[in-house]
């Protein structure tokens, strides 16, 4: 009986802690979508000179980012760029937003409100497993993607691409 009570209180404590860590819920009804500042596309790219190292991923970039590998090649000196994963995500106004094209390298974005020229002020964290690699304050603007040069892997490099979608007319 004691053990059960202990277990119960531990579980309640754990969920209370989890609640503490969560962003407070909005006043909106649960069925309404939370307010957003726009949408981003995030992708994890594997860049390599050795075609034999490519993983055979079938992911392709969206239409508005055609020619992404040519643009990446202007910055990172590699021949092949492979999209390992991609994630289309709303940037929530009041919640944190996770962009997880892969469990190996992913982002957390907190909106700090709109910026001019259709942009969004954000606080950005690049995560790897349980570690934050970098925390940045940034302005994201449509048509101006962010290329994040990450760790080396298999003689190549992991690169994270983050792009703010053009805001559609509401």
């Amino acid at each position: 009986m004691r053990a059960f009570a202990l277990l119960l209180s531990l579980t309640l404590c754990a969920s209370a802690l989890a609640q503490e860590a969560a962003v407070p819920p909005t006043e909106a009804l649960p069925t309404m979508k939370p307010a957003t500042e726009g949408q981003v596309w995030g992708a994890l790219i594997f860049a390599t000179n050795d075609a034999a190292q490519l993983t055979g991923s079938k992911e392709k970039e969206p239409d508005h980012l055609q020619g992404l590998d040519a643009r990446l090649a202007k910055v990172f000196p590699f021949k092949h760029f492979e999209i390992l994963g991609q994630h289309q995500q709303d940037i929530f106004r009041q919640y944190e937003s996770w962009v997880v094209p892969s469990r190996d390298l992913f982002l957390k974005i907190d909106s700090k409100g709109p910026a001019d020229k259709g942009g969004v002020n954000i606080h950005l964290q690049v995560w790897r497993e349980q570690q934050v690699l970098v925390k940045s304050d940034a302005i994201l603007r449509p048509g101006s993607p962010l290329f994040i040069g990450g760790p080396k892997w298999r003689n190549g490099r992991l690169i994270f691409v983050l792009s703010l979608d053009e805001r559609k007319a509401r």
């Binding site: 202007k74 910055v75 990172f76 000196p77 040069g149």
Partner: protein
């Protein structure tokens, strides 16, 4: 003077000095500073063409290296790791200066002071002997390098002074191999243009 090869016997003793520095031995670090300050200063100087700033940035490079020592893995060359830090510090400074309105991408004049110890002969004087002509050429080359944009100076210094391979330059900047070659070509042509009269008289 070309850069020493990575397999030089002197590299072996670095490990001992680096280990001691990592343990907090500032005198061991002082020995490393003495050993490499000439090369680091040369790199920062060639990149920014300003004696005082180059001195400050070379200092900064060593301070950053001291802070980053815990992360230095002893399997790599200490000098390679050190010059990368120095290069990044210097190039960041150069870019910020340029952003603050110091001139266009192509060869606008940037801050320049004559190379320490270089003779400057007034225009129109003949250069009667080889030594004097040599000094004049040195000064002219420095002046021509100063007129290059940051990006072009960068590849010239990394290739001609540091002796880096194209791939190493591409990884450091970072940029593509094609860009490395284009910038090298353009930089050399620009220098040639600046030094046209020198080469014409020697032909």
């Amino acid at each position: 003077m070309s850069a020493p090869a990575a397999t030089d016997p002197v590299e072996v003793t670095d490990i001992d000095l680096v280990k001691r520095s990592q343990a907090g031995d500032t005198r061991a670090f002082d020995a490393l500073v003495t050993k490499y300050r000439g090369r680091i200063y040369a790199m920062t100087y060639h990149l920014i063409q300003n004696e005082t700033e180059a001195w400050d940035l070379a200092q900064e490079a060593f301070i950053k290296a001291w802070r980053a020592l815990p992360g230095f893995k002893l399997d790599a060359s200490f000098y390679t790791w050190l010059y990368r830090i120095a290069h990044n510090v210097t190039y960041d400074w150069l870019r910020k200066k340029r952003i603050q309105g110091d001139g266009e991408f192509d060869d606008e004049r940037t801050e320049h002071r004559a190379a320490a110890g270089a003779e400057t002969t007034p225009k129109g004087d003949a250069a009667p002997d080889a030594a004097l002509r040599n000094a004049e050429l040195g000064a002219r080359i420095q002046a021509a390098i100063a007129k290059l944009s940051a990006e072009h100076r960068q590849v010239i210094v990394l290739r001609e002074v540091e002796g880096l391979a194209y791939e190493e330059i591409a990884a450091l900047v970072p940029c593509s191999l094609g860009t490395v070659m284009s910038r090298l070509f353009y930089a050399r042509k620009k220098l040639q243009e600046q030094l046209k009269d020198v080469y014409e008289t020697t032909l």
